[in-house]
Symmetry: C2
């Protein structure tokens, strides 16, 4: 998508140096637009763990490129063991992100296909990393094409009034390689001239909504307001939300959705007010092994500092300030699970389905044959 | 309650100067403990509007003292009109707070009782302001005595494991004159040695939980963790919450509860997970005219700056930082309404009742006779 009028993806090989990966260091947004050079798998692991890059699809693409960078630096006499270590290192950075596991496994298969030929392995890992990124962008584009039908249908009933969409966290193009998932239908509708307005949950503690989604939408010219995470229920009670779309970090094959902490609360409010609640996701986010999301999906606990302090722009620089009493501890669960019963449907790259095993099976029958 | 080992209320007449009211300027907590002198009704209106003082009971007490300060300064030849203007000025500061209206009306009746005798009026307004404050503290103490039974019952089932209580915003003693409402049962249980732990919703956008409730509990030695407002649903799904207690800024006589924005979302999560959700309130908070909270209670919209920026301690001073893109607008609804159907019960100074007209009528029959 566009940044300052120029087209960007969120991750790419440096134009004149294909041994360097470039990313947008998202920790500085929306205040500063910083491109970071990543030259080693260790740097990529830090970038994933410390959330220079974040979001389901982008973490997968970053892991794919990370495996390629690992191969470039791996000692030739200890190549296989070194690549195993790199894969373990990458996998440990964000335990809840299913795309991380998926991309690393995909690269390990590529590695195996190259046998003992290290140069072939490097070439194939690079090719596969680029394919993972391209597929991610293409899947998001298709999610937009499918999801826009929901917005069009609502617009048809609103006589020119804007369709009000609420979203949580950033499942925008910054969370993927391009387009995003929750935002893909929004961008597609906007580009078709459908009047729209987006309520952006700020999404504490890391404020991905206030920082990233608001910035993305602003750059693309989509009308929006930032709201505290507490506000959505009130808006829904008063008819100010027509549709909720969120992303998903991991989805069970039965339709339970692990997404940014607080998603579950919005789903409850949508149900209580008869508002459609859709989840947009590429199938790479589906965990084909897990049936019961609430009890089976591990939930990452992050550093309490993310709750106790916050980073913002003081007019001259980014500055961190303390929000709590100095001796009050905090806990920081990063995700929650929204049970399928609260989800109106899943918007995938193959179409929209019911959030249920039957619904998912209809779109992905090949995953259920084994 | 205690601050740095010394007993304080939240508002009082200055010891050696009864023409000055003193308050804790809560905007600086938890980082600085600042006592502010209030000498005029104009200063009191600013203190209420800009939330130097906040919370249902404390706003009422502040309005009571504000009317007294107004009388001290009112021109003798235009006393009645001047007092009417003062009452209008105070009423306009926080439209959702029912205690404000209630305390101002109470002082207007006192004023009437004094006829044309200005000195008598001043004396009676002072006496009444002190009575409003004393009653507020006494009602909160009784709420604690009634509510502690809920905590004791849960503790009896937990074999010495701590009772986990979640609370939203600050319905602590800082929101009243002493004890608080939601916190009164917690302090009472703590003082009886019941093992307890409190999940403190940070309560964006103004972070009254992270700033005030955490500070209060810390000063009193109650074990607690601060959490983002998004976290409560996840904790409830995983058995980590035994009881929710919140306060109320305005309660309909049918049991609908207008409280800090986001309360409704926690009530939905409590219902979805079969967790008791209680609301603690003095009866001064009950609006005897309103039947349908969602549609009849006006919801204050505050300045979007409260969402777009945040204030915290940078290690040396309080500093405000920007959280959103510079051009992204925000909206700031300050309260939401939790329908009575989601409320397990109301804890009042007269006891615990069902959140329904029948329940409220049982405790306050005299309010239903007219």
């Amino acid at each position: 998508m566009k940044v300052q009028g120029q087209h960007y993806r969120t991750i790419w090989l440096k134009a004149d140096d294909p041994t360097t990966v470039q990313i947008i260091d998202q920790r500085h947004l929306p205040h500063l637009f910083v491109i970071e050079d990543i030259r080693t798998v260790q740097e990529m692991a830090v970038a994933i763990r410390d959330m220079h890059v974040r979001g389901a699809g982008l973490i997968g693409a970053a892991a794919g490129f990370g495996m390629y960078l690992a191969a470039l630096a791996a000692p030739r006499d200890d190549f296989a063991a070194s690549m195993q270590a790199a894969s373990a290192h990458l996998r440990a950075t964000r335990p809840t992100a299913v795309n991380l596991e998926w991309a690393v496994s995909r690269q390990l298969q590529v590695l195996q296909s190259a046998g003992d030929d290290v140069e072939l392995a490097i070439a194939r890992l690079r090719q596969e990393a680029e394919a993972i990124a391209d597929e991610d962008a293409e899947f998001c584009r298709r999610i937009g094409e499918h999801g826009v039908s929901l917005i069009e249908a609502i617009a048809g009933r609103k006589n020119g009034e804007p369709v009000n969409i609420l979203t949580h966290c950033n499942a925008g193009w910054l969370a993927f390689v391009d387009y995003g998932t929750a935002t893909a239908p929004i961008y597609a509708a906007h580009d078709r001239g459908i009047p729209m307005h987006v309520w952006v949950d700020e999404t504490r503690p890391r404020n991905q909504g206030a920082r990233l989604t608001a910035w993305e939408l602003g750059q693309h010219g989509v009308s929006h307001h930032v709201i505290a995470d507490n506000v959505g229920g009130h808006l829904m009670q008063h008819g100010m939300v027509d549709l909720v779309i969120t992303g998903s970090d991991r989805t069970t094959y039965t339709g339970d959705v692990a997404n940014k902490i607080g998603t579950y609360l919005k789903a409850l409010a949508a149900r209580d007010n008869d508002i459609p609640f859709y989840v947009a996701l590429p199938s790479s986010t589906i965990d084909w092994q897990k049936r019961d999301g609430v009890h089976e999906i591990p939930i990452e606990q992050r550093d309490a500092t993310e709750v106790r302090t916050i980073r913002g722009w003081d007019g001259e620089q980014l500055r961190t300030v303390l929000l709590t009493p100095p001796h009050s501890p905090a806990v920081n669960y990063a995700f929650d699970v929204t049970p399928a019963r609260l989800v109106s449907g899943l918007i995938t790259e193959r179409g929209i389905c019911e959030a249920s095993e039957a619904g998912v099976r209809r779109l992905y029958p090949e995953k259920f044959t084994s």
